[in-house]
């Protein structure tokens, strides 16, 4: 018996298994719930994957030089730093941030309208890197020529963020595996319950000379189709829920970026057939084991 047999079916064999009882809901509802959760786990995995890549790419190409100096020397030190950067290999562009830009950066933390010009803020120089950028060499040169300038290549805080995003992605995949395992267990239990409730069917089939595979096929097809129907419903509901999440552009932040983009919207559609394969294998195994015990 193969999955092809399941799709083609055998009308007469299907009739042998009594119409749906309680065990039908034991399969359909968990399959729908698990598929719903699987859509979110998949969305989480994809979103965190995108996040990790974005952080890694954008932060890896940028560095900042912080210049702490008395107000009357600040401009001179900024010029000195820019002069050094102009002759440093691996520096694509370098520019000093204007006071307004620094104010914009600080506004989310300190609020609007603060008299920033009266605060002893360091000046910032933004560097966009290219190939051959030597952070350590630049750091030593700045230390020697502009002692108040400190190079921050973002490695210190970039790495934990990328790692955190990667961990989240792994958690998403782990959740998907757990969902698959739980679903297999639930379908197995439902199949066992159905087989136990249909001992008479098995006894009669044995009596009339049915081979084990005949009874197994009848039960397996029923359970696989129920699981696929439940999973299809759960998947569609899950996709709808993800589609209704606020977009990242509107609200900003990490969680609002949870969702699918472009062709990745097709990925959740793999969940129902995948659930079908799980249900097929779980029911088939449970049915053969039950028949072996029945002898």
């Amino acid at each position: 018996m193969t999955l092809i047999d399941i799709l083609i079916g055998d009308r007469q064999a299907d009739r042998v298994v009594p119409p749906a009882g309680q065990t039908a809901w034991l399969t359909v509802l968990p399959a729908a719930a698990m598929a719903f959760l699987a859509v979110f786990a998949l969305a989480l995995s994809l979103a965190t994957g995108r996040l990790a890549e974005r952080w890694d790419e954008s932060l890896a190409q940028a560095s900042t030089i912080r210049i702490s100096a008395p107000a009357d020397q600040a401009d001179a030190q900024v010029d000195a730093v820019l002069s050094i950067l102009a002759g440093t290999p691996g520096v694509a562009t370098a520019r000093a941030l204007a006071a307004e830009e620094q104010a914009t950066l600080l506004e989310p933390w300190l609020g609007p309208g603060l008299p920033l010009d009266r605060l002893p803020l360091p000046r910032l120089v933004e560097i966009v890197e290219s190939d051959g950028f030597d952070a350590e060499g630049l750091r030593l040169r700045l230390q020697a020529e502009v002692p108040g300038a400190v190079l921050d290549d973002h490695t210190r805080w970039r790495q934990p963020m990328v790692e955190a995003a990667s961990r989240l992605r792994s958690l998403g995949w782990t959740a998907l595996l757990l969902i698959a395992g739980v679903l297999a267990a639930i379908v197995t239990l439902a199949a066992q319950a159905a087989l136990a409730a249909n001992v008479q069917v098995i006894r009669v089939l044995r009596l009339v000379g049915a081979r084990d595979v005949y009874a197994v096929r009848a039960f397996t097809r029923r359970f696989t189709l129920r699981a696929v129907a439940g999973a299809a419903t759960g998947t569609l509901l899950g996709m709808l829920a993800v589609a209704l999440l606020p977009s990242a552009q509107v609200a900003g932040g990490f969680l609002t970026g949870l969702g699918f983009t472009g062709l990745s919207w097709l990925l959740p559609l793999l969940i129902p057939p995948f659930v079908g394969v799980i249900a097929f294998l779980a029911t088939r195994r449970a049915a053969f084991r039950a028949l072996a015990r029945f002898e």
Binding site: V16, R203, V204, R211
Partner: protein, 225 residues
Amino acid sequence: MIELKGASYSYGRDALLHGLDLTLSPGSFHFLTGPSGAGKTTLLKLCYGELRPTEGVIELMGRDTRGLDRDGMARLRRRVGVVHQDCEFLDHLSLMENVALPLTVSGADTPERRDELTQLLAWVGLGHRAHAHPPELSGGERQRAALARAVITDPEVLIADEPTGNIDWEMSQRLLSLLAELNLMGKTVLVATHDLALIRASKPTVSARVLRLAGGSLQTAGAEL
């Protein structure tokens, strides 16, 4: 046809049947009698392969059952029709579908066989009940339906376990005449019953050998019947 050679059967440590030798030759008719709990049903199950002997050899249609797996046994079982006292059916299927079940599971449910099915139901007197469901049938109707199901595949052997246990005398006689008719058609018949009156009543219609199972051994019953 069916041959037991020193066949024994034990449930756990309790031996029920000891070293039985029995040959059911083609076209023979056997009654199996004995007290309740003597192991009549167990012996029948050994004869149609639902149970395997704990010792000894059983040959079904000339094949030693010891080397057969469950599928091989299922194929052999199609050549043996079985009627139980409680004659279980699939309650959600109609009588016609239930009787056709042996054809369905063997992939032999063709339109020609459907015609035979209609004739068979008429033969057992259930032509008018073809679309009824098992819970709607009386005890006698269930027994006749079970008999029809047992012979739909034209088996060589028919085994019946207390087929008249739940039905009245008139219906018992009718069932007996159907079994006798099958025997005349060349079927080997083995009927387990504790109803000695039924065995006596069969004398004018069939030439039956009567076996008595007691104390785990088989004896040929004689004049006391």
